[in-house]
Amino acid sequence: MDRLILFILLGAGPGALYAGLAQSLVLTHRGAGVINVGAGAMAMWGAYTFYGLREGHLLLPLVYPGLGGPVPVVPAFLLAVALSALLGALVDVAVLKWLRTSAPLAKLVAGVGLMLTVQALVVLRFGGTGQTAPQVLAGGSVRILGGAVPVVRLEVAGLALAAGFALAAAYRRTRFGLATRAAQENEAEAMMSGLSPRRLSLLNTTFAGALAGAVGILVAPMTQLDPTTLALAVVPALGAALIARFTSFTVAAAAGLGMGALQAVALYLQTLPWFPTSNGLPMPGLPDVLFFLVIAGALMWRGTSLPDRGAHIEPRLPPAPAPRRVARPTAIGVAVGAVALLILPFDLRQGLVNTLIAVIACLSLVVLTGYVGQVSLAQFAFAGLSGLVVSKIGIDLGIGPPWAPLLGVAAAAVFGLVDVLPAMRVRGVHLAILTLAAAVALQNFGFHNPSWGAGGLGSPVSSPVLFGIDFGPSGSFPLNAAHPPSPLFGLVCLLVTALCCVAVANLRRSGLGQRMLAVRSGERAAAAAGISVPAVKVTAFVISAFLMGVVGVLTAYNFGSVDPANFGIVNTLVLIALAYLGGISVIKGALIGGMLMSGGVAATIMEDYLGLPADYLLLFAGVSLILTVTTTPGGIALAHRKSRNGPPAGKEPGRIAAVAEAAG
């Protein structure tokens, strides 16, 4: 019991991080109506800024000028917090300002873009590995219950709690706080009262940036200063903010500390003798599974009553026109692709194979997000599962094609069915948060688990041999097969991708496609029109998971192993970014997105022929996602429609109507 309490006290460090981030999330939501998934990344930027100052450098995007010597702790802390506040202000002016009338999902996706951008900037500067974070608060440790607890952990937890009480008081007492609450409830009415929602949003987001930066700086020495740990700390923070209904600062602070304690309990359990082990080490990922369960519980409990901002009409997603011609473009595409696979040099051929696989991944989002309006941040978990099935039954049971790929895809589709269960109750933004937590839990509990996952090194995949012919990338082929991938594997990928495109095109033109669009534009209205909303959602999730299953099988054969690095949360975030950039609601957009995907044709040309490092692709994905969501919701594929059909959906007329509806 004593040891448990000791562990919980040690959990105060990460708890403070979650508490601070949760409050930052509440601030951004109250001020700007946005759930900022990038809050963790903003904390990370603050921590790296502080690190840079202590090392004698000023961290700015893409430049890192020297300052002639390390900056002392206190000025460095203040400067880093000020720069974090500036980042918050910049995010508001450059991103959130343009999203005021966008669909809630677009706002969330913009946060994903922010996260990717900040991560990319950090990776470009410091690489993917961690740094030793400099201490801010001094202090030794106190002996509690026979163990040493660093005072710093208790201090930061106290500070996070104090911040919660201070913010709560400010929102109750000051005119700024009252005005924010008023604008949060109804922006149009607030404007008629002489309040400026824009200014309020800017101030709140600036505070949110400062808070995230401060907590990042303070807690980095206790967690880890690398490009992912702090950024993904947003997951438990989202759980805490959900419990606080994105409204109460004190509840957010307490729940954040509670998430820290929960993590500590999980770590404590891992030390117990009965805890299941795998390869001699305790099973990884339990904290992430607990976070997921808390978020799921919070959504079931309070998720239906998140406040809106008084706009009664749901802003529209980009148009999803039905494809008019299918046969001819498909035939031309397949012919061009086949010739390209036969004559291109091996690096571009590999790029084209990667692109073809990525197109299917983008198609899975076209169905789910473009047609049904749901966002899943766990897409590559489906692919990973299907890849693992192919790998395990291939190696352990000696089962190859055609059964292994079929079983893999079936496993992904069944898992999609499980994943859709929360979507019965939870929709839109909440579903995205839930799938984000699920993706992190699966990554750490599933893929990194040596027993049933891929472990740290990857799980090998045997080459697909059918009728004595090796269809895999290293198979033989009479033409151009000196270097892998073999053109035959490319042709298989081309055929599968073409089939998927035709299937999705026909889906959009079918009655089911009509029903999907009806659900997207309004669940209640769709239900009133006699459409079974749950059935449509289930079908969409299963189709989407099925497509990701295909991606998983092809990726497994493509790389010859199932590596967690190919199926992680970052892969999904990049996928969403590029699918949005290409055009989330049309097949042409999936083709464009696939071209841009990491390892795809565009990246190969960039790397091999233009000499740009691949890390820039992450930056490009993040920035372009933000730009797409804020300026061209339809993506590249629909960009030309703007001039032809008047303003894009969800822009100016929506704004007027939103204000008018809110006023009326």
Partner: protein, 235 residues
């Protein structure tokens, strides 16, 4: 009929939604201390007129002068601060804020608000969402009046309220206009009550001015009112 410089002047206003005009080429003035009732059937463009004047929707054409000053370039919040208060059908209250917080939001003196509506005093710490419709309307009006607007526009004061409360509220509007010299533009469905309070009446029909006369004259010529509401040709 109005003073030398009207407090609110609307010239050639056109406004609507999604590019379709609801109000076309509307002109009207409200002088100091004057109450003007804006009447008309559903869909005539009354609410749209108020929204375009307060710029909560962007007008398509026309100018709006507040005390002789063109407010066309101002944002809604700046117009509100310049002294034009628009009470929407939502009654201008925020359900999450308490009665007292509504007044603190503008740094207003609660005593000023309580002078108009002593009923609000015991409800000070109650959240507006928990007030009755009448109490909410009183709060909205108290807040509007305590801001001492030069021009007050009220949309559907009587909406969802018992007649007895409307009879309590309208005289307060009249008194404020008389005492402060403010201009009041009143959109109202209760034609009888509105014209008994107002000095003049403007009847909108399909987005344009169909009738315009003193309140007394309009009350006396009920057939004109009826025909403009029911769409028949005026006799």
């Amino acid at each position: 009929m109005t003073g030398p410089s009207p407090r609110l002047e609307v010239r050639g206003l056109s406004a609507g939604y999604f590019g379709a005009a609801v109000v076309r080429d509307l002109s009207l003035t409200v002088g100091a201390g004057e109450v003007v009732a804006l009447l008309g059937p559903n869909g005539a463009g009354k609410t749209t007129t108020l929204r375009a004047v307060s710029r909560t929707i962007a007008p398509m054409a026309g100018t709006v002068l507040l005390d002789g000053r063109d407010i066309g370039a101002l944002r809604p919040q700046d117009i509100a601060r310049a002294g034009l208060v628009h009470m929407s059908e939502r009654r201008g209250v925020f359900h999450g804020l308490t009665v007292e917080e509504h007044l603190r939001l503008h740094g207003l003196d609660p005593a000023l608000a309580h002078r108009y509506f002593p009923e609000l005093e015991p409800l000070r710490s109650r959240r507006a969402g928990l007030l009755s419709g009448g109490e909410q309307q009183m709060l909205g009006m108290a807040r509007a009046l305590a801001r001492r607007p030069a021009v007050l526009m009220i949309d559907e004061l009587s909406k969802g309220l018992a007649p007895v409360i409307v009879e309590r509220l309208l005289p307060v509007v009249r008194r404020y206009a008389d005492e402060s010299g403010a201009a009041v533009l009143l959109v109202e469905q209760q034609v009888q009550l509105a014209l008994e309070t107002a000095d003049r009446g403007c009847v909108l029909s399909h987005g344009s001015l169909a009738e315009h006369d003193t309140a007394a004259n309009l009350l006396a010529r009920r057939d004109v009112l009826v025909s403009s509401y029911l769409g028949a040709t005026a006799l």
